[in-house]
Symmetry: C2
Subunit: 190 residues, 2 copies
């Protein structure tokens, strides 16, 4: 059985995100527990602002609480759907994005993840990015959200065609959580 030295509380309703975080942070000896902290999400063009505001609103915490926000930024659509990716996914799905990019050759996109940590008054932000492009059709059943239409740079398959382990080699979220993991490792008081 794996040994954990530390534990963070991840405030999210998305079980896929919990799985991804657990997989990454276990390599740093950090356990992940889902928590129900209510988040205040503001409207903003930047994920950083959304995460910072939410962290401030959580109030003082004695345990390390982590939140994450991420978005898909498509160059030809001026960064749409960006910080509103989960709303847009719910409303128009992968098919909506594919329709918006019909007959569009330039399909560059990036996934961005911002992980925010709060403990006591301490607040830290970690960022992960993954460059890539939007595919011409949906492929794969793994992952969630826009994973079936996003192909990371130098790859040929979508995130949804990859196992969790493989997605975590590339993904924006894994980069942000790795940055969090190594920061926590080097800070004894967390």
């Amino acid at each position: 059985m794996q040994h954990f030295d530390k534990k963070i509380f991840f405030a999210t309703n998305n079980n896929n995100k919990i799985l991804e975080a657990k997989h990454i942070l276990s390599n740093f000896g950090i356990a992940v527990e889902k928590t129900e902290v209510k988040k205040v999400e503001i409207q903003s063009d930047t994920l950083e602002e959304i995460v910072l505001y939410a962290l401030k609103k959580i109030g003082k915490t004695t345990c390390p609480v982590v939140i994450e926000d991420s978005g898909l930024f498509i160059e030809k659509l001026n960064g749409f759907p960006g910080p509103y990716s989960s709303y847009v996914y719910k409303k128009i799905g992968c098919d909506g994005i594919l329709k918006l990019l019909e007959n569009v050759e330039e399909r560059k996109a990036k996934f961005v993840s911002i992980v925010g940590l709060k403990k006591g008054r301490l607040i830290r932000i970690f960022k992960g990015e993954c460059d890539g492009k939007i595919s011409y059709k949906r492929a794969g059943e793994h992952g969630f959200g826009f994973d079936p239409i996003f192909i990371p740079e130098n790859g040929e398959r979508t995130f949804a065609e990859m196992s969790l382990e493989e997605k975590n080699l590339w993904s924006h979220r894994s980069k942000a959580f790795k940055a969090l993991g190594s920061w926590i490792q080097s800070h004894k008081h967390i």
Copy 2:
């Protein structure tokens, strides 16, 4: 010169909204002044929640402060772009919506406006709706946002093809501001 008995302070950066509000509220003897109050806009599926949260965050005010949020809800797109209409407009514009509705015959949509009033601790919400449909192409130069692709029910032209006076006969925003106007008229302490 017109006589005004009362005055509200409208917190918005959108000068078109100021114009529309002035036009409506002048009939109620209410003057409208633009104000710079900073609004906190949360992410939510309902405009009511967004406006209520923003009103609460304004703090106690001695003058009557008004905010407004509105959205275009397209039936076939599950209510998209809804509360995020101004963001979506900025990113993909009218053309993006027309592309999403290419080869879609069912084009029913509605504009919704929520006007919120705060004075002291008092908070009131007023709602206006306008049923209609999304046109097959853009038309008209008046108004703003998605006006060039929205045709109100029983009409044949888009909001952007109408003068301000004509748009105000139908529009969601005018209905909400008329409700505000008649409420203020019947409350002496505002």
